[in-house]
């Protein structure tokens, strides 16, 4: 059993490496197929200046050689130097900015999970009554309003709140303290929270009608106990199941929130790099995110094996 486990992990990791190679290759060729030129700038270059720049970035080599060099560097974990931030290693950029995105993402997931479970349970308790309607209406908003509209409106809401309070209760943008993170994380986790609330509500309702709850009730188990022992516990399972993929989506999907709230995360960096055609940053970020996602999927799969005995490895 232990050996089977090790072999399984090994196999998954090898598959992961091949997948990362595929992502790297796809990115490289997609990138070099993009019309335009990362070296161009507002002020036109003399051929001399241009030749100097090309040599600096190895763009004077044939494409396939560039690809080999790129793969070689990648194998050593070196993503190269940024085209726009000429003095910074892409590795440094990722090291500095990914933790920001990750922190924001983790908090968003926590908010979403906690909020989803609590609201979901509450709506199930109050089924078809006012609290249910109010929460479900908010859920509908969370699901159907585009994230950038939510982000812009919530920032405006913060300004209004602070102006009314006469002092800064919560910062409206920026990064650096706990208070900077709250609103962006909430906005980022909002749609997931709405989704989880819905899921929690329906799985709670399903369990209320299930046989074992009926049995427990007829045995005379106190309702509070039924609620906590049976309903809540069993209803959370499907929520945990969908949470895994959601974590990956959220930690890599903070573009909008990072842009609106001026957060120095990797997502915002990527958007700026694309606008500047910064080859190395684009490739580095994509491959890094790809590898991160692959790793997350493997980890989540393994964890499921532990949480739910019904899931067999392979």
């Amino acid at each position: 059993m232990r050996q089977g486990m090790a072999w399984y992990v090994c196999k998954r990791l090898i598959q992961g490496v091949v997948t990362v190679w595929f992502i790297a290759t796809a990115t490289f060729f997609a990138m070099h197929n993009v019309p335009g030129d990362p070296l161009l700038n507002d002020r036109a270059m003399t051929p001399a200046i241009r030749a100097n720049l090309e040599a600096r970035y190895g763009l004077d080599q044939p494409l396939f050689n560039q690809y080999l060099i790129y793969l070689g560097n990648l194998a050593r974990g070196d993503f190269g130097i940024s085209f726009t931030q000429e003095n910074r290693q892409v590795n440094d950029i990722i090291r500095e900015h990914f933790p920001v995105s990750a922190t924001l993402g983790i908090l968003a997931v926590l908010f979403a999970a906690a909020g989803g479970v609590l609201w979901g349970a509450l709506t199930a308790l109050y089924r078809n009554r006012m609290p249910d309607y109010i929460i479900m209406f908010l859920v509908i908003l969370g699901i159907s309003v585009p994230s950038f509209v939510v982000a812009a409106l919530s920032q405006l809401g913060l300004v209004t709140l602070n102006n009314l309070a006469g002092r800064s209760l919560l910062p409206v943008a920026g990064w650096g303290s706990v208070f900077h993170m709250l609103t962006p994380a909430l906005v980022l986790g909002l749609s997931t929270m709405a989704y989880l609330t819905r899921l929690m509500r329906s799985s709670m309702l399903e369990i209320i009608d299930s046989d074992f709850v009926r049995t427990a009730r007829s045995k005379g188990v106190p309702p509070a106990l039924i609620f906590s022992r049976h309903q809540l516990r069993n209803a959370i399972l499907p929520v945990v199941t969908v949470l895994g993929p959601q974590i990956a989506v959220i930690t890599t999907g903070g573009f909008v929130v990072e842009l609106v709230f001026a957060i120095p995360g990797l997502g915002r960096f990527f958007v700026e790099a694309v606008q500047q055609l910064d080859y190395t940053v684009i490739m580095g970020t994509t491959v890094f995110y790809g590898a991160f996602l692959v790793l997350m999927v493997i980890v989540v799969d393994l964890l499921y094996g532990f949480i739910d005995p019904r899931v067999r490895l392979q």
Binding site: A30, S144, F148, L153, L156
Partner: protein, 450 residues
């Protein structure tokens, strides 16, 4: 005695077996249960209404979404449209009587001509316009122009003039070019005007002889107001619907279709081919979606005059098919083991027949549900791309790009954000609820629970 008529064959008798209720096919049954779901039915009507708005709308509301009505820029819905006809605009060289700050000629939405005598001790002047009277805090409003030269004592304001009351101020500049507290103020009521040439240009009258200077005329009607270039919001929303719903519906339709073909092939052939095909699908799934969406969008490029819808469509199809493929493959693998399929195979059914008659129709339910849930996602992706500036190219409107433009003017002219955002929300909601309803209706386990 028998007559010949008694030996005629009997007519076909209908109710031999006495089935009291009509037999229901799978789809009929699903439809019946969908109809019972009030919420799903309402969203179905909403979807149909949106399609009607998109397809038939432009036939009913025949306003060109590209025409710019520069007399009515960022106009809220339902404002007064009466305008006075004035002569064509003539440029002004500052002629007029001298005196403290005053208006030369009439103050109209065409222009407000201001003239003043140099303020005492001024080294130049700055002209402000405000929507409030200048108070003790000396907030003069927005600076229109600055002349660091006492020889110039006139200014013609043509900046986005709207009918209503303005408070103009001319403020003295000190020797260092900084404004001091020395100012003159003037209240001006601006009247909405247009010219005969413009009226003809915008199709309000057939030719210039119909009316003359001094007459009044109603400007064009814009039921939902106009945008930042004076374009009709209703017409733009309809045009935008074509883009947003096209991407929202066609892209999922295409990648779901591709997924079905891919998944069915893999599932049916099985073995090494299946392994290989599914490994490939795994690779594509592993690509970070939004990042690659952006990457592909710029890699495909947009040529002049193109809207950029096609690259978006292709990128979505390339990236999003594997989920459906996996789903359909799983279904096919299950179905292949079903007894009726094996029976059919024993009876000599060919592959084509098996796949087309037995397998694919049985995956129809899941595929339809997937499709319905993918549509809102695709609409969001379009809106997201517009937000980061990678959406459709101007002048093509889409709901996403319109909302993004609307965010800038959220406080001053909220209708530019509310309408497109509302349409996005309604569409997303309708498809989500419809998807829920379909899933319940097509779920075989619930077939008898009614």
């Amino acid at each position: 005695m028998y007559s010949a008529a008694d030996f005629l064959p009997l007519g076909e008798q209908r109710d031999v077996h006495g089935i009291s209720r009509p037999s229901l096919s799978y789809l009929q049954d699903a439809w019946r249960r969908l109809k019972a779901n009030r919420r799903a039915l309402a969203s179905l009507y909403l979807v149909l209404g949106l399609l009607f708005f998109t397809i038939a709308g432009p036939w009913l509301w025949r306003v060109d979404p590209a025409v710019q009505d520069l007399d009515q820029i960022s106009q809220r819905p339902g404002v007064d449209r009466a305008a006075l006809i004035v002569p064509d605009y003539q440029s002004w060289d500052g002629a007029g009587e001298t005196g403290p700050l005053h208006v030369v000629g009439d103050a109209t939405s065409q222009s407000v001509r201001l003239k003043w005598d140099a303020l005492p001790g001024a080294f130049g002047h700055r002209i402000y316009r405000n929507i409030f009277p200048v108070g003790p805090e000396l907030a003069y409003g927005m600076p229109l122009a600055e002349f660091f030269d006492n020889a110039i004592t006139h200014h013609e304001d043509r900046l986005d003039l709207r009918p209503g009351r303005y408070y103009y101020s001319v403020v003295a500049l000190g020797e260092d070019g900084v404004i001091g507290g020395n100012y003159q103020s003037l209240t001006v009521d601006v009247q909405r005007v247009t010219t005969l040439a413009e009226a003809v240009d915008r199709g309000l009258i057939a030719d210039q002889d119909q009316l003359e200077v001094g007459d009044s005329i109603e400007l064009q009607l814009h039921p939902l107001g106009t945008d930042y270039l004076g374009r009709d919001m209703l017409a733009r929303l309809m045009a935008g619907a074509r883009v947003s719903l096209f991407i929202g519906i066609v892209a999922p339709a295409l990648f779901v279709l591709f997924g079905v073909v891919f998944g069915a092939t893999a599932g049916f052939i099985g073995g090494r081919v299946d392994q290989f095909m599914m490994r490939f699908a795994d690779f594509v799934v592993a690509l970070p979606f939004l990042l690659f969406m952006i990457l592909f969008k710029i890699a495909f490029g947009i040529g002049p005059g193109e809207s950029g819808v096609m690259p978006m469509l292709v990128a979505m199809v390339v990236l999003l098919w594997p989920a459906t493929a996996r789903l359909v493959r799983g279904q096919i693998l299950q179905l292949r083991e079903q007894a009726y399929v094996q029976a059919s195979q024993l009876l000599g059914a060919r592959t084509n027949y098996l796949v087309l008659r037995h397998m694919l129709p049985n995956t129809f339910g899941v595929v339809l549900v997937t499709l319905t849930f993918e549509i809102p996602k695709a609409i969001f992706v379009e809106a997201f791309l517009s937000f980061i500036g990678m959406g459709v190219a101007p002048p093509t409107p889409s709901w996403g790009s319109m909302s993004n433009e609307g965010i800038a003017t959220m406080l001053t002219t909220p209708h530019e954000l509310i309408f497109p955002a509302l349409l996005i929300s309604m569409t997303v909601l309708a498809f989500n609820l419809l998807g829920d309803g379909l899933r319940d209706a097509l779920d075989a386990r619930m077939r008898n629970s009614g």
